[in-house]
Symmetry: C2
Subunit: 294 residues, 2 copies
């Protein structure tokens, strides 16, 4: 491994300019500094890089070798810095979004539209029961539901509410009826997500109000809960965005706001300022607003 890249850079400019003074001016340092860098580098290498004379520094063979390599290095680093400087302002590369699975069906069409507006972007939409950690760089934007996130480096903005209701399939309702607003739950079958996130409102409600033996179908994924309800396995909670226009689902037990939780748009403070993230959060907030107003 090479000890000190700046000294090589100094030597490169001396080889290019042919004089210490010229290199010093290009580098924006005092010419004494340039002399010190060259002396230090030559001492470390045990090789003379330049012939010193009163009219300047002439590269030796070694110095010419350094000139060639450092020229290439300079080009590459210049290109890199150019790319990096524009990076914050450009709508390109990956944009990683994560949410709890419940919101996937709502968010997916929005993200697809957003991607279509910015063809240079690659959207990675990660939905998983585990929380992706913004502070580890696992995602740029997260949509969270429930209590307001408290991580210190996260920028949190309200993002509407999740809204689950209890549904049954039309077939189930026709066969068994539905309990109604304050109906008796006895004799009904329930579908429940049975995962680590047992602190979700519906889970708390069902364990409080429904005997265990009536929970006849348990799934680890919300998607499966929804499939089970549609298949007539029982009554279960489904996001209203999925169910509202579906004639095959009927509301089983109207409970005001019980399963509604605030949703949060969360970004990491390090990435919050980037154009990419800003554009997405603005877009998502507008979509959510439009949806609430309709």
């Amino acid at each position: 491994m090479v000890g000190n890249w700046d000294e090589i850079r100094t030597a490169y400019q001396v080889a290019r300019m042919g004089t210490v003074s010229g290199a010093a001016e290009v580098l924006g340092v005092h010419h004494a500094t340039v002399i010190r860098h060259i002396d230090a580098l030559e001492t470390r290498l045990g090789t003379k890089l330049f012939q010193r004379h009163a009219r300047g520094y002439t590269p030796t063979e070694a110095g010419q070798d350094l000139l060639t390599v450092a020229q290439a290095t300079d080009d590459q680093l210049t290109q890199l810095v150019g790319r990096l400087k524009g990076r914050g302002e450009e709508m390109a590369g990956e944009l990683i979004v994560t949410s709890v699975p419940d919101l996937a069906s709502l968010l997916t069409p929005w993200l697809a539209r957003f991607q279509a507006m910015h063809p240079g972007l690659i959207i990675r939409f990660m939905t998983d029961s585990r929380l992706f950690r913004l502070e580890y760089g696992e995602a740029h934007v997260a949509i969270r539901a429930g209590a307001v996130p408290e991580e210190p480096d996260n920028v949190v903005q309200p993002f509407g509410r999740t809204d689950d209701k209890l549904y049954a399939s039309r077939a189930y309702a026709e066969a068994h009826g539905v309990p109604g607003a304050d109906g008796d739950l006895a004799g009904h079958r329930f579908v429940c997500s049975d995962s680590r996130e047992s602190r979700a409102p519906y889970n708390r409600w069902i364990h409080a109000n429904v005997p265990d033996d009536q929970i006849v179908f348990r799934a680890s994924e919300q998607r499966v809960v929804e499939l089970a309800v549609r298949a007539g396995a029982g009554i279960g909670h489904i996001p209203v965005w999925d169910a509202r226009d579906d004639p095959d689902l009927v509301e089983a037990i109207p409970l005001p706001d019980t399963f509604s939780a605030p949703a949060w748009l969360v970004t990491h403070v390090d990435l919050h300022r980037t154009t990419k993230v800003q554009a997405l959060t603005r877009f998502l907030k507008e979509e959510a607003k439009a949806l609430s107003l309709q």
Copy 2:
């Protein structure tokens, strides 16, 4: 142009190691320094390179881009430094030797033998009436004749003596005779080098002892003087090394030491220590010594 290569190198190690501490250890600096470098670089670029968290630094896209480029840079510079470190000790590349033309016929076979001993070397033997300047990197080794060189940065070693004598061709001697030790020069024709180096001993002697109209052949090169003498144009000075075993040349006027001048092996102080130069100077001194003894 890129401002500071060392900060990029620091960022590279952070991206590679994943932690500030790890990078600091590899770089041999305090981890506070690493943090300062990263902060400064990100500020200059206006782009976050890393996600900071309690378990380390995770590269962003920009950081990964930097990692890729800096990896290549590191490889190239490591190779360069490897080459450069060995450069002083290796017998390869160019070795530029210069001398006054008089000594070319003596030195050429020696240099050829030296090159054969070190096949990696490329010998460039520059003979010209003008003095090649060691301090401008025009040559590694110079053989000078005459007064001891006084340039401050030159390493000067005695290197035998040049030894010119006055010769005539056998044909000339048979046609006109030779003046002999203290003979009359009247009626004889002379060949003279007519160049800027008029302070050479022979030039001073001939202008002091021979009327101008007897100098019938003047050449700008010593090689031509020799050819002219061999062609019978007149009496001229030729290095004894060229003439001693040649039956076609006879000594015309024996003059003790008149045209003998000390010769000097001169190297520039910057290059004197290199193996290449050391090997050549040692070799040349041994050859000269062997020649004097035979």
